[in-house]
């Protein structure tokens, strides 16, 4: 029965070693896909290269389908997988700020590490800026605690929000992703020509 860490298969040390190995896989797949390159990432926002959308949504769909079916088969206890908690307003405002920074930097936190590790100086600059931003925000966070913990919804999923079964939401996300994949090539061709 999985998650292994929750059923005593893996101790504290094993969880850390697994984290290191999983990180290697994460870094390698990001690098392979070219997402360690700010120029490639900016192609998403200039609509000339939709690699970010293609990689992210095929990853989300793969992991979502895997988690859904492993749970249906009784292999994975999804109630013991940590779901990021929802805080609607801080996540909306945080998301908007994050996007502003993302558009300026051309790299996100994970891909900036990939860029820095493969020799890109701009990646290192994003890492340093990111560290400063986290440090400063962490320092002032107690003074905006009310906002930070507002609109808390706990582990809140789309099936719960809409009152439909998980299978329906999974199906809709797959359909949206496939439609996006079908259109991606057309969008790229149109904006590359400009």
């Amino acid at each position: 029965m999985a998650p292994f860490s929750e059923f005593g298969v893996l101790g504290a040390r094993g969880v850390l070693i697994a984290g290191f190995v999983i990180g290697i896989g994460f870094g390698a797949t990001l690098e392979r896909s070219g997402l360690g390159s700010a120029r490639k990432l900016m192609g998403q926002f200039n609509l000339t290269d939709l690699a970010v959308f293609k990689v992210m949504f095929s990853a989300i769909v793969t992991a979502m389908l895997g988690a859904f079916w492993l749970s249906k088969l009784g292999v994975l206890d999804l109630s013991r997988v940590y779901i990021p908690e929802t805080f609607l307003l801080p996540q909306l405002i945080g998301g908007l700020l994050f996007g502003v920074g993302f558009g300026l930097a051309g790299l996100c936190p994970g891909t900036s590490c990939v860029a820095a590790a493969t020799g890109r100086g701009d990646g290192l600059a994003v890492v340093i800026g990111m560290f400063g931003g986290v440090l400063l925000t962490g320092a002032v966070l107690p003074s905006i605690q009310r906002f930070y913990t507002s609109t808390a919804r706990g582990g809140y999923t789309i099936p719960t929000l809409l009152g439909v079964s998980e299978g329906v939401v999974v199906l809709v996300v797959v359909a949206i992703a496939l439609a996006g994949f079908a259109f991606a090539g057309r969008i790229e061709r149109r904006f590359r020509a400009d």
């Binding site: 990180g23 966070l141 719960t160």
Partner: protein, 176 residues
């Protein structure tokens, strides 16, 4: 010009769908083995908390955000820090195998090195603010929370991409 073939002998990047499925399998492995998803910004928070703890331990302990990130006892016992160290090593190995390692500062043709570094550092800092408020980034919220169908994560995805499109459009000369 094909960017991926920019460097002499560098192999082209993988097919995005194939790389995406591989990334999805890494994420699924994390769910199955350790009961959690991937992350990046949380590791920055842990290192920041440890830094404050060294410089001003009383401040670190009295600040609930930093204190929460000192739970592991040592920064190298923090799962996200170990995972992000793996990310750097995995990226380096992957780039070395594909002959893609090189010291560069990637920027648009009309963008100077200093402009690029200012945008990168400033953008990184603003991203840091956003990631703390949102409790995660493109890894912990978008990929992980997205696959687990978390409402807050999809709110984050919508906000982040909407804002990034606006900024990229306003600065569209920077990468041309």
């Amino acid at each position: 010009m094909n960017e991926s073939a920019r460097r002499e002998g560098a192999r082209p990047y993988a097919d995005p769908y194939l790389a995406g499925v591989a990334l999805g399998l890494v994420l699924l492995t994390a769910f199955v083995v350790v009961g959690r998803g991937l992350g990046a910004s949380g590791a920055f928070a842990s290192v920041a908390a440890s830094t404050v703890d060294v410089v001003a331990p009383a401040t670190a302990r009295s600040n609930s955000f930093f204190a929460d990130h000192l739970d592991a006892g040592s920064v190298w016992r923090d799962w996200l820090v170990v995972e992000l160290a793996g990310v750097c090593i995995g990226a380096w190995i992957s780039a070395a195998l594909a002959k893609r390692l090189s010291f560069t500062i990637e920027r648009g043709a009309r963008s100077s090195v200093s402009n690029r570094l200012v945008a990168a550092t400033g953008g990184g800092a603003v991203m840091g603010i956003g990631a703390v408020l949102a409790r995660g980034c493109t890894s912990g919220q978008a990929l992980t929370g997205g696959a687990l169908l978390s409402v807050g994560s999809w709110v984050f995805i919508a906000g982040a991409f909407a804002a990034a499109y606006v900024v990229a459009f306003a600065r569209r000369g920077a990468w041309s």
